[in-house]
Assembly symmetry: C2
Homo-oligomer: 284 residues x 2
């Protein structure tokens, strides 16, 4: 029997990540119930093992697109449910140990998504800096706080505060309106609220180019709104895709259930990642 | 007037990248006509400035999906044409300076796509190593050859040879059949060959969830095969996407021209990234 830590929630750590910020906004949690993990996959697998009751991970960013690591674990490696979602604004800061100046920086450390979101800024302001991947933005800040060289991290101001860094520049993402969608993952399907969204992955038969059209027609025919579609390789060969699709409605709604039933007759497999209450815009 | 370097071809350098390997397989080029650039965006912009006649960049991998940096520059920042494509198998090796052992490695350096393609290998075999981003796999090998610490690069065996590194492990990607599609970009549309593919980007109106269905219907109605579809954020807000679509046929084919004409009446914009001869499978 797995240990019963019913109240514990895993999140992409260490302390001070955007994920923690999103989690605290989404749920009334006390810090002692939170357990930081190193990667998105670690968070999700800790839920599956029963180490934590639920886990919080980023799934999509408005600049850089889907968080592939999260999508791939949910689609290929676990059978969990998305239970809630929240969208928060992302304000990236460049931070370094007190005394280090912008022009001295030799290495910028951050999560790959944050480095990609600030691609133009880095190539303009720090063209010679080397880029190092951290498992999270807060982990980048922590690493910078422990190193004596001319390092900088990209992350939230909260991380600068926690790890004693100075903020050298703020609002450094390449596009305005930088937002990230986070999801809370658990073992129980969320009940219908009447204002829900359902995330599915459709695995199509190879060499049937009309499959995506057939999928979309099932929804269009029933006036079901799509809020997201994202193709991902199935890791087998170029051109072999699966589709991550978000639709409005709950699997317990008759119309959604009927659409999924018909879909299952037409494609190789449909995996439901969860039905959950739809976020009402951005929570700042 | 830009300088006339008609024969010169830019590629993602330095010497020894998979991009160079793909380029040499695609065209009868001599080394003196090749100019290495640091990033995919640099290659494409050098073509636009007329510094080189054509440029070679990776566009899609069978494990990690689209190369976002390439898609974004082609869609949002230039008006060039894809003229040719080639798919080659990717065999990732872990390489280090002679004498460095696998278990001693503290840092793994590579292109973000290669790091993502070897995610499981790294977390199993080198769980404590830090990950550093290089602008290419060959650049990673070059950097490792110049550093005295316990560094390793992920890249092609050719790069190990060029930069005097030892191969510690081979075939380290997380899935078999790792393939990458590369495209040659230039200023002239390629002529019709009868065995062509067309790449387009569709920008849809916001808040019209049926747009993608309408796009696909235009092609299905005419029995035009789709070989790829990929959504990308337009960088404005979450849920605002454009679609990268590859279809079989040439813009000079009457049926394709007619489909694009009808599409343009329905969506905000359709940008043709090029019609070019379709690759016949993988070139090994």
């Amino acid at each position: 029997m797995p240990k019963n830590h019913n109240k514990k929630i895993g999140f992409l750590g260490p302390w001070g990540t955007y994920t923690q910020e999103a989690l605290v906004k989404l749920l009334p949690v006390s810090e002692e119930d939170l357990i930081p993990y190193t990667t998105e996959a670690d968070v999700i697998k800790a839920v599956e093992r029963g180490e934590v009751a639920k886990g919080m991970v980023a799934i999509e960013n408005s600049i850089e697109g889907s968080v592939n690591a999260t999508l791939d674990v949910l689609a290929f490696e676990t059978n969990l449910f998305i239970e809630k979602e929240i969208i928060i604004p992302i304000h990236h800061c460049l931070m370094a140990r007190p005394g280090v100046k912008l022009e001295e920086i030799t290495t910028v450390i951050s999560h790959p998504q944050a480095l990609a979101q600030c691609r133009s800024y880095i190539s303009k302001k720090l063209p010679r800096a080397s880029l190092e991947i951290a498992s999270s933005n807060a982990d980048a800040a922590k690493t910078v706080s422990e190193k004596s060289g001319k390092f900088a991290a990209i992350g939230p101001s909260l991380a600068a505060e926690i790890y004693g860094l100075d903020i050298l520049d703020a609002g450094i993402a390449d596009f305005e309106d930088n937002q990230t969608r986070f999801v809370l993952v658990g073992k129980e399907p969320a009940p219908r609220t009447g204002h829900d969204k359902t995330s599915i992955v459709c695995f199509i038969f190879e060499d049937r180019p009309g499959s995506l059209l057939q999928i979309l027609q099932e929804f269009a025919y029933r006036y079901i709104n799509l809020t997201k579609i994202q193709s991902r390789p199935t890791k087998k060969a170029l051109g072999d895709y699966c589709f991550f699709i978000d639709i409005e409605g709950h699997v317990d709604d008759e119309i959604i259930a009927s659409a999924l039933k018909c879909l299952r007759c037409k494609v190789r497999d449909v995996k439901v990642l969860g039905s959950y209450p739809m976020a009402n815009g951005v929570t700042s």
